[in-house]
Symmetry: C2
Subunit: 215 residues, 2 copies
DNA sequence: CACTTGTCCTGTCATGCCGTCAGCTTACCG
DNA sequence: CGGTAAGCTGACGGCATGACAGGACAAGTG
Protein backbone atom coordinates (compact mmCIF):
# COMPACT_ATOMS: atom_id res chain seq x y z
CA UNK A 1 0.00 0.00 0.00
CA UNK A 2 2.43 2.64 1.18
CA UNK A 3 5.05 3.19 -1.49
CA UNK A 4 8.69 3.59 -0.72
CA UNK A 5 9.64 6.25 1.76
CA UNK A 6 11.07 9.19 -0.10
CA UNK A 7 12.92 12.32 0.86
CA UNK A 8 11.56 15.70 -0.12
CA UNK A 9 13.94 15.91 -3.07
CA UNK A 10 12.86 12.52 -4.36
CA UNK A 11 15.58 10.18 -3.19
CA UNK A 12 14.64 6.77 -1.85
CA UNK A 13 15.35 6.45 1.86
CA UNK A 14 17.50 3.52 2.94
CA UNK A 15 17.83 1.88 6.35
CA UNK A 16 19.81 4.68 7.89
CA UNK A 17 17.62 7.37 6.44
CA UNK A 18 14.45 5.73 7.67
CA UNK A 19 15.92 5.43 11.14
CA UNK A 20 16.74 9.13 11.24
CA UNK A 21 13.33 9.97 9.89
CA UNK A 22 11.66 7.88 12.56
CA UNK A 23 13.83 9.40 15.26
CA UNK A 24 12.71 12.85 14.16
CA UNK A 25 9.08 11.74 14.32
CA UNK A 26 9.58 10.28 17.79
CA UNK A 27 11.24 13.44 19.06
CA UNK A 28 8.50 15.58 17.57
CA UNK A 29 5.97 13.39 19.33
CA UNK A 30 7.71 13.93 22.64
CA UNK A 31 7.92 17.66 22.11
CA UNK A 32 4.22 17.83 21.39
CA UNK A 33 3.55 16.20 24.74
CA UNK A 34 5.66 18.64 26.66
CA UNK A 35 5.12 21.98 24.98
CA UNK A 36 2.35 23.83 23.16
CA UNK A 37 1.96 23.01 19.47
CA UNK A 38 2.47 26.65 18.57
CA UNK A 39 5.90 26.68 20.20
CA UNK A 40 7.32 23.53 18.65
CA UNK A 41 10.28 24.63 16.51
CA UNK A 42 12.07 22.62 13.87
CA UNK A 43 15.39 23.48 15.43
CA UNK A 44 14.37 22.03 18.78
CA UNK A 45 13.18 18.80 17.25
CA UNK A 46 16.39 18.48 15.26
CA UNK A 47 18.57 19.23 18.27
CA UNK A 48 16.76 16.69 20.39
CA UNK A 49 17.22 14.08 17.67
CA UNK A 50 20.92 14.88 17.59
CA UNK A 51 20.81 16.15 14.05
CA UNK A 52 20.52 19.42 12.18
CA UNK A 53 17.50 21.38 10.97
CA UNK A 54 18.54 20.77 7.37
CA UNK A 55 18.10 17.07 7.92
CA UNK A 56 14.57 17.64 9.13
CA UNK A 57 13.71 19.44 5.92
CA UNK A 58 15.11 16.55 3.94
CA UNK A 59 12.31 14.33 5.18
CA UNK A 60 9.43 16.70 5.86
CA UNK A 61 8.19 19.86 4.17
CA UNK A 62 7.51 21.46 7.56
CA UNK A 63 6.38 20.70 11.10
CA UNK A 64 2.81 20.24 9.97
CA UNK A 65 3.91 17.69 7.39
CA UNK A 66 5.64 15.64 10.05
CA UNK A 67 2.65 15.91 12.37
CA UNK A 68 0.42 14.57 9.60
CA UNK A 69 2.78 11.63 9.28
CA UNK A 70 2.56 10.83 12.99
CA UNK A 71 -1.17 11.29 12.94
CA UNK A 72 -1.50 8.93 10.05
CA UNK A 73 0.47 6.23 11.84
CA UNK A 74 -1.78 6.70 14.84
CA UNK A 75 -4.90 6.55 12.72
CA UNK A 76 -3.78 3.22 11.36
CA UNK A 77 -3.28 1.87 14.87
CA UNK A 78 -6.68 3.34 15.68
CA UNK A 79 -8.25 0.56 13.69
CA UNK A 80 -8.18 -1.30 16.99
CA UNK A 81 -11.14 0.80 18.04
CA UNK A 82 -13.29 -1.14 15.60
CA UNK A 83 -12.83 -4.25 17.67
CA UNK A 84 -14.56 -2.55 20.57
CA UNK A 85 -17.81 -2.84 18.68
CA UNK A 86 -17.42 -5.75 16.29
CA UNK A 87 -20.08 -8.37 16.81
CA UNK A 88 -21.27 -6.77 20.05
CA UNK A 89 -24.85 -6.72 21.17
CA UNK A 90 -26.74 -3.74 22.57
CA UNK A 91 -29.41 -5.84 24.23
CA UNK A 92 -29.79 -6.47 27.96
CA UNK A 93 -26.71 -6.98 30.11
CA UNK A 94 -24.53 -7.45 27.05
CA UNK A 95 -25.50 -3.96 25.94
CA UNK A 96 -24.29 -2.45 29.17
CA UNK A 97 -21.01 -4.25 28.82
CA UNK A 98 -20.63 -3.10 25.23
CA UNK A 99 -21.11 0.50 26.34
CA UNK A 100 -18.62 0.13 29.16
CA UNK A 101 -15.97 -1.45 27.01
CA UNK A 102 -16.42 1.14 24.31
CA UNK A 103 -15.91 3.96 26.80
CA UNK A 104 -12.96 2.20 28.35
CA UNK A 105 -11.20 1.50 25.10
CA UNK A 106 -11.91 4.91 23.69
CA UNK A 107 -10.66 6.86 26.70
CA UNK A 108 -7.59 4.69 26.85
CA UNK A 109 -6.74 5.19 23.20
CA UNK A 110 -7.19 8.92 23.57
CA UNK A 111 -5.01 9.10 26.65
CA UNK A 112 -2.22 7.19 24.93
CA UNK A 113 -2.28 9.58 21.98
CA UNK A 114 -3.54 12.77 23.52
CA UNK A 115 -0.79 15.10 22.32
CA UNK A 116 -1.16 14.28 18.66
CA UNK A 117 -4.93 14.02 18.85
CA UNK A 118 -5.11 17.56 20.17
CA UNK A 119 -3.33 18.81 17.10
CA UNK A 120 -5.46 16.72 14.78
CA UNK A 121 -8.59 18.04 16.45
CA UNK A 122 -7.43 21.61 16.06
CA UNK A 123 -6.44 21.13 12.44
CA UNK A 124 -9.78 19.53 11.66
CA UNK A 125 -11.71 22.27 13.45
CA UNK A 126 -9.73 24.88 11.53
CA UNK A 127 -10.96 23.27 8.35
CA UNK A 128 -7.77 21.58 7.16
CA UNK A 129 -8.94 18.70 5.02
CA UNK A 130 -5.88 16.55 5.64
CA UNK A 131 -6.36 16.62 9.40
CA UNK A 132 -10.02 16.25 8.88
CA UNK A 133 -9.52 13.09 6.89
CA UNK A 134 -7.35 11.58 9.59
CA UNK A 135 -9.89 12.40 12.26
CA UNK A 136 -12.49 10.67 10.11
CA UNK A 137 -10.28 7.65 9.67
CA UNK A 138 -10.11 7.22 13.43
CA UNK A 139 -13.70 7.99 14.25
CA UNK A 140 -15.42 6.51 11.22
CA UNK A 141 -15.22 2.90 12.27
CA UNK A 142 -16.76 3.63 15.66
CA UNK A 143 -19.22 6.05 14.16
CA UNK A 144 -20.42 3.66 11.50
CA UNK A 145 -20.79 0.80 13.94
CA UNK A 146 -22.86 2.97 16.26
CA UNK A 147 -24.98 4.31 13.42
CA UNK A 148 -25.60 0.73 12.24
CA UNK A 149 -26.62 -0.28 15.74
CA UNK A 150 -29.11 2.57 15.97
CA UNK A 151 -30.47 1.87 12.49
CA UNK A 152 -30.91 -1.77 13.33
CA UNK A 153 -32.76 -1.06 16.57
CA UNK A 154 -34.83 1.42 14.62
CA UNK A 155 -35.83 -1.13 11.98
CA UNK A 156 -37.06 -3.36 14.78
CA UNK A 157 -39.15 -0.57 16.17
CA UNK A 158 -37.05 -0.26 19.35
CA UNK A 159 -36.04 3.29 18.49
CA UNK A 160 -38.23 6.12 17.20
CA UNK A 161 -38.54 6.60 13.45
CA UNK A 162 -37.55 10.25 13.50
CA UNK A 163 -34.15 9.57 14.96
CA UNK A 164 -31.24 10.11 12.59
CA UNK A 165 -28.74 7.30 13.28
CA UNK A 166 -25.77 9.18 11.82
CA UNK A 167 -26.50 12.29 13.88
CA UNK A 168 -26.83 10.29 17.10
CA UNK A 169 -23.71 8.27 16.42
CA UNK A 170 -21.71 11.34 15.45
CA UNK A 171 -22.76 13.21 18.56
CA UNK A 172 -21.86 10.32 20.81
CA UNK A 173 -18.49 9.88 19.17
CA UNK A 174 -17.87 13.61 19.49
CA UNK A 175 -18.76 13.39 23.17
CA UNK A 176 -16.36 10.52 23.74
CA UNK A 177 -13.57 12.37 21.98
CA UNK A 178 -14.25 15.61 23.85
CA UNK A 179 -14.48 14.01 27.27
CA UNK A 180 -11.32 12.05 26.53
CA UNK A 181 -9.35 15.14 25.64
CA UNK A 182 -10.51 17.02 28.71
CA UNK A 183 -10.25 14.16 31.15
CA UNK A 184 -8.22 16.23 33.55
CA UNK A 185 -10.82 18.95 33.40
CA UNK A 186 -13.41 16.82 35.12
CA UNK A 187 -11.34 16.67 38.26
CA UNK A 188 -11.95 20.34 38.93
CA UNK A 189 -15.67 19.63 38.73
CA UNK A 190 -15.04 17.07 41.43
CA UNK A 191 -15.40 14.06 39.16
CA UNK A 192 -12.84 11.29 39.44
CA UNK A 193 -11.69 9.10 36.55
CA UNK A 194 -13.33 6.02 38.00
CA UNK A 195 -16.66 7.78 38.43
CA UNK A 196 -16.55 9.28 34.98
CA UNK A 197 -16.50 6.04 33.03
CA UNK A 198 -19.76 4.44 34.18
CA UNK A 199 -21.62 7.71 33.77
CA UNK A 200 -20.27 8.13 30.28
CA UNK A 201 -21.19 4.55 29.47
CA UNK A 202 -24.68 5.28 30.73
CA UNK A 203 -24.98 8.20 28.34
CA UNK A 204 -23.75 6.08 25.45
CA UNK A 205 -26.23 3.33 26.24
CA UNK A 206 -29.08 5.79 26.62
CA UNK A 207 -28.17 7.43 23.33
CA UNK A 208 -27.96 4.26 21.30
CA UNK A 209 -30.84 2.29 22.72
CA UNK A 210 -32.98 5.05 24.18
CA UNK A 211 -33.22 3.02 27.38
CA UNK A 212 -31.45 2.67 30.68
CA UNK A 213 -29.10 -0.30 30.80
CA UNK A 214 -29.90 -3.46 32.73
CA UNK A 215 -26.87 -3.96 34.93
CA UNK B 1 -14.38 44.97 38.18
CA UNK B 2 -11.90 45.35 35.38
CA UNK B 3 -9.21 47.80 36.48
CA UNK B 4 -7.84 50.44 34.17
CA UNK B 5 -6.42 49.22 30.89
CA UNK B 6 -2.66 49.39 31.06
CA UNK B 7 0.15 49.09 28.57
CA UNK B 8 2.88 46.52 29.05
CA UNK B 9 5.21 49.15 30.47
CA UNK B 10 2.66 50.26 33.01
CA UNK B 11 1.21 53.43 31.51
CA UNK B 12 -2.51 54.01 31.69
CA UNK B 13 -4.13 53.85 28.27
CA UNK B 14 -6.26 56.80 27.22
CA UNK B 15 -9.09 57.00 24.71
CA UNK B 16 -6.90 56.79 21.66
CA UNK B 17 -4.77 54.03 23.08
CA UNK B 18 -7.78 51.94 23.97
CA UNK B 19 -9.12 52.34 20.47
CA UNK B 20 -5.86 51.10 18.96
CA UNK B 21 -5.76 48.27 21.41
CA UNK B 22 -9.28 47.23 20.55
CA UNK B 23 -8.55 47.46 16.85
CA UNK B 24 -5.61 45.11 17.30
CA UNK B 25 -7.86 42.68 19.15
CA UNK B 26 -10.49 42.86 16.41
CA UNK B 27 -7.93 42.27 13.69
CA UNK B 28 -6.44 39.37 15.60
CA UNK B 29 -9.93 37.92 15.89
CA UNK B 30 -10.41 38.16 12.14
CA UNK B 31 -7.04 36.60 11.46
CA UNK B 32 -7.88 33.66 13.70
CA UNK B 33 -10.99 33.02 11.63
CA UNK B 34 -9.13 32.96 8.36
CA UNK B 35 -5.83 31.29 9.11
CA UNK B 36 -4.49 28.60 11.44
CA UNK B 37 -3.60 29.72 14.95
CA UNK B 38 -0.06 28.51 14.51
CA UNK B 39 0.46 30.82 11.54
CA UNK B 40 -0.88 34.03 13.03
CA UNK B 41 2.02 36.49 13.20
CA UNK B 42 2.21 39.73 15.12
CA UNK B 43 3.38 41.55 12.02
CA UNK B 44 0.28 40.53 10.07
CA UNK B 45 -2.06 41.62 12.81
CA UNK B 46 -0.29 44.95 13.08
CA UNK B 47 -0.32 45.53 9.34
CA UNK B 48 -4.00 44.75 9.11
CA UNK B 49 -4.70 47.19 11.91
CA UNK B 50 -2.71 49.84 10.03
CA UNK B 51 -0.06 50.07 12.70
CA UNK B 52 3.35 48.63 13.51
CA UNK B 53 4.45 45.51 15.38
CA UNK B 54 5.99 47.67 18.07
CA UNK B 55 2.56 49.05 18.88
CA UNK B 56 1.23 45.56 19.35
CA UNK B 57 3.92 44.82 21.90
CA UNK B 58 3.00 47.94 23.77
CA UNK B 59 -0.37 46.49 24.66
CA UNK B 60 0.23 42.75 24.71
CA UNK B 61 3.16 40.58 25.79
CA UNK B 62 2.62 38.29 22.80
CA UNK B 63 -0.06 36.77 20.56
CA UNK B 64 -1.16 34.42 23.30
CA UNK B 65 -1.64 37.32 25.67
CA UNK B 66 -3.91 39.05 23.21
CA UNK B 67 -5.85 35.84 22.58
CA UNK B 68 -6.43 35.47 26.29
CA UNK B 69 -7.83 38.99 26.31
CA UNK B 70 -10.28 38.22 23.50
CA UNK B 71 -11.23 34.95 25.11
CA UNK B 72 -11.95 36.71 28.37
CA UNK B 73 -14.24 39.21 26.70
CA UNK B 74 -16.04 36.33 25.05
CA UNK B 75 -16.35 34.44 28.30
CA UNK B 76 -18.01 37.43 29.84
CA UNK B 77 -20.51 37.62 27.01
CA UNK B 78 -20.93 33.88 27.43
CA UNK B 79 -22.87 34.56 30.59
CA UNK B 80 -25.88 34.70 28.27
CA UNK B 81 -25.71 30.93 28.13
CA UNK B 82 -26.96 30.84 31.70
CA UNK B 83 -30.28 32.24 30.58
CA UNK B 84 -30.83 29.18 28.44
CA UNK B 85 -31.42 27.20 31.60
CA UNK B 86 -32.54 29.67 34.23
CA UNK B 87 -35.88 28.70 35.71
CA UNK B 88 -36.49 26.03 33.06
CA UNK B 89 -38.27 22.80 33.70
CA UNK B 90 -37.17 19.35 32.57
CA UNK B 91 -40.61 17.80 32.94
CA UNK B 92 -42.93 16.83 30.11
CA UNK B 93 -43.20 19.00 27.03
CA UNK B 94 -41.41 21.85 28.75
CA UNK B 95 -38.42 19.55 29.20
CA UNK B 96 -38.23 18.90 25.48
CA UNK B 97 -38.33 22.59 24.81
CA UNK B 98 -35.62 23.26 27.37
CA UNK B 99 -33.39 20.73 25.68
CA UNK B 100 -34.05 22.19 22.24
CA UNK B 101 -33.39 25.73 23.30
CA UNK B 102 -30.21 24.75 25.10
CA UNK B 103 -28.89 23.04 21.99
CA UNK B 104 -29.94 25.92 19.81
CA UNK B 105 -28.37 28.60 21.97
CA UNK B 106 -25.22 26.64 22.57
CA UNK B 107 -24.56 25.84 18.92
CA UNK B 108 -25.26 29.41 18.00
CA UNK B 109 -22.89 30.83 20.58
CA UNK B 110 -20.21 28.44 19.45
CA UNK B 111 -20.64 29.28 15.80
CA UNK B 112 -20.40 32.99 16.53
CA UNK B 113 -17.15 32.51 18.41
CA UNK B 114 -15.70 29.40 16.84
CA UNK B 115 -12.28 30.73 15.96
CA UNK B 116 -11.41 31.88 19.44
CA UNK B 117 -13.07 28.90 21.09
CA UNK B 118 -10.88 26.54 19.09
CA UNK B 119 -7.79 28.19 20.52
CA UNK B 120 -9.21 28.18 24.03
CA UNK B 121 -10.02 24.50 23.68
CA UNK B 122 -6.52 23.72 22.49
CA UNK B 123 -4.90 25.76 25.24
CA UNK B 124 -7.04 24.08 27.87
CA UNK B 125 -6.32 20.61 26.48
CA UNK B 126 -2.62 21.41 26.49
CA UNK B 127 -2.91 22.09 30.20
CA UNK B 128 -2.60 25.86 30.21
CA UNK B 129 -4.40 26.99 33.34
CA UNK B 130 -5.30 30.42 32.00
CA UNK B 131 -7.16 28.98 29.02
CA UNK B 132 -8.57 26.32 31.22
CA UNK B 133 -10.02 28.90 33.55
CA UNK B 134 -11.70 30.71 30.67
CA UNK B 135 -13.17 27.50 29.34
CA UNK B 136 -14.54 26.85 32.81
CA UNK B 137 -16.00 30.33 33.00
CA UNK B 138 -18.00 29.68 29.85
CA UNK B 139 -19.07 26.14 30.56
CA UNK B 140 -19.53 26.34 34.31
CA UNK B 141 -22.87 28.07 34.29
CA UNK B 142 -24.38 25.54 31.92
CA UNK B 143 -22.62 22.69 33.64
CA UNK B 144 -23.81 23.66 37.11
CA UNK B 145 -27.37 24.18 35.97
CA UNK B 146 -27.43 20.77 34.34
CA UNK B 147 -25.83 19.12 37.35
CA UNK B 148 -28.42 20.75 39.59
CA UNK B 149 -31.20 19.51 37.37
CA UNK B 150 -29.92 15.96 37.53
CA UNK B 151 -29.41 16.15 41.29
CA UNK B 152 -32.91 17.44 41.76
CA UNK B 153 -34.47 14.70 39.66
CA UNK B 154 -32.34 12.26 41.57
CA UNK B 155 -33.58 13.48 44.95
CA UNK B 156 -37.12 12.88 43.76
CA UNK B 157 -36.26 9.34 42.76
CA UNK B 158 -36.67 10.04 39.05
CA UNK B 159 -33.02 9.26 38.34
CA UNK B 160 -30.94 6.37 39.68
CA UNK B 161 -28.95 6.89 42.86
CA UNK B 162 -25.65 5.80 41.40
CA UNK B 163 -25.61 8.52 38.79
CA UNK B 164 -23.05 11.27 39.32
CA UNK B 165 -24.72 14.55 38.36
CA UNK B 166 -21.44 16.39 37.73
CA UNK B 167 -20.11 13.63 35.47
CA UNK B 168 -23.31 13.52 33.42
CA UNK B 169 -23.51 17.29 33.14
CA UNK B 170 -19.84 17.59 32.23
CA UNK B 171 -20.12 14.93 29.55
CA UNK B 172 -23.17 16.55 28.02
CA UNK B 173 -21.54 19.96 27.99
CA UNK B 174 -18.43 18.45 26.42
CA UNK B 175 -20.62 16.85 23.78
CA UNK B 176 -22.33 20.13 22.97
CA UNK B 177 -19.01 21.90 22.69
CA UNK B 178 -17.48 19.17 20.53
CA UNK B 179 -20.43 18.89 18.18
CA UNK B 180 -20.51 22.66 17.90
CA UNK B 181 -16.87 22.92 16.93
CA UNK B 182 -17.15 20.16 14.36
CA UNK B 183 -20.51 21.17 12.94
CA UNK B 184 -19.15 21.10 9.44
CA UNK B 185 -17.82 17.62 10.03
CA UNK B 186 -21.27 16.16 10.29
CA UNK B 187 -22.03 17.07 6.75
CA UNK B 188 -19.57 14.48 5.48
CA UNK B 189 -21.45 11.93 7.53
CA UNK B 190 -24.51 13.03 5.62
CA UNK B 191 -26.08 14.91 8.51
CA UNK B 192 -27.51 18.35 7.87
CA UNK B 193 -27.57 21.20 10.39
CA UNK B 194 -31.33 21.08 10.71
CA UNK B 195 -31.31 17.33 11.39
CA UNK B 196 -28.50 17.57 13.87
CA UNK B 197 -30.22 19.82 16.38
CA UNK B 198 -33.24 17.68 17.31
CA UNK B 199 -31.08 14.59 17.63
CA UNK B 200 -28.66 16.42 19.87
CA UNK B 201 -31.55 17.72 21.92
CA UNK B 202 -32.81 14.17 22.25
CA UNK B 203 -29.45 13.06 23.63
CA UNK B 204 -29.42 15.95 26.09
CA UNK B 205 -32.91 15.14 27.30
CA UNK B 206 -32.13 11.45 27.60
CA UNK B 207 -28.96 12.22 29.52
CA UNK B 208 -30.53 14.59 32.01
CA UNK B 209 -33.84 12.89 32.67
CA UNK B 210 -33.04 9.32 31.65
CA UNK B 211 -36.23 9.33 29.57
CA UNK B 212 -37.36 10.06 26.08
CA UNK B 213 -38.98 13.46 25.72
CA UNK B 214 -42.71 13.91 25.29
CA UNK B 215 -43.03 16.03 22.20
C1' DC C 1 0.60 81.76 20.48
C1' DA C 2 4.54 79.35 22.46
C1' DC C 3 5.41 76.05 25.95
C1' DT C 4 4.78 71.95 28.68
C1' DT C 5 3.21 67.46 29.71
C1' DG C 6 1.94 63.03 29.11
C1' DT C 7 0.10 59.77 25.77
C1' DC C 8 0.85 57.36 21.63
C1' DC C 9 3.28 55.51 17.75
C1' DT C 10 7.23 54.01 14.91
C1' DG C 11 12.19 53.46 13.02
C1' DT C 12 15.69 50.75 14.11
C1' DC C 13 18.39 47.12 15.84
C1' DA C 14 20.16 42.65 17.89
C1' DT C 15 18.67 38.14 18.12
C1' DG C 16 17.04 33.81 16.62
C1' DC C 17 14.41 30.68 13.67
C1' DC C 18 13.14 29.41 8.84
C1' DG C 19 14.01 27.04 4.72
C1' DT C 20 17.49 26.20 0.96
C1' DC C 21 21.79 24.93 -1.30
C1' DA C 22 26.24 23.33 -2.36
C1' DG C 23 29.27 20.29 -0.92
C1' DC C 24 31.20 16.92 2.17
C1' DT C 25 30.91 12.14 4.30
C1' DT C 26 29.27 7.52 4.46
C1' DA C 27 27.53 3.11 2.76
C1' DC C 28 26.88 -0.11 -0.82
C1' DC C 29 28.17 -2.73 -5.02
C1' DG C 30 30.61 -4.63 -8.92
C1' DC D 1 39.23 0.22 -5.21
C1' DG D 2 36.51 3.37 -7.70
C1' DG D 3 31.81 4.78 -8.85
C1' DT D 4 27.31 5.99 -7.39
C1' DA D 5 23.66 7.20 -4.63
C1' DA D 6 22.22 8.10 0.11
C1' DG D 7 22.85 10.87 4.09
C1' DC D 8 24.20 14.87 6.60
C1' DT D 9 25.58 19.67 7.67
C1' DG D 10 27.58 24.51 7.56
C1' DA D 11 26.34 28.59 5.98
C1' DC D 12 23.37 32.04 4.22
C1' DG D 13 19.55 35.39 2.96
C1' DG D 14 15.13 36.38 4.70
C1' DC D 15 11.81 37.29 8.04
C1' DA D 16 9.52 37.61 12.75
C1' DT D 17 10.48 38.82 17.38
C1' DG D 18 10.83 41.91 21.07
C1' DA D 19 13.18 46.01 23.14
C1' DC D 20 14.31 50.89 23.11
C1' DA D 21 14.73 55.69 22.32
C1' DG D 22 12.91 59.31 20.24
C1' DG D 23 9.47 61.72 17.32
C1' DA D 24 4.40 63.02 16.65
C1' DC D 25 0.35 64.50 18.60
C1' DA D 26 -3.49 66.20 21.61
C1' DA D 27 -4.68 68.93 25.52
C1' DG D 28 -4.04 72.02 28.88
C1' DT D 29 -1.43 76.38 30.77
C1' DG D 30 0.46 81.05 31.04
Amino acid sequence: MTGQVRTVDGRVAGRRGQATRQKLLDCLSEMLSSSPYRDVKVIDVARRAGTSPATFYQYFPDVEGAVLEIADQMATEGAELTELLEGRSWAGKAGWQTAQELVDGFLDFWRRNDAILRVVDLGAAEGDKRFYKIRMKILNSVNNSLADAVAELQSRGRVDKDVNPAAIAGSIVAMLAAVASHQKGFQSWGVKQAELKPNLALLVHLGITGRKPTK
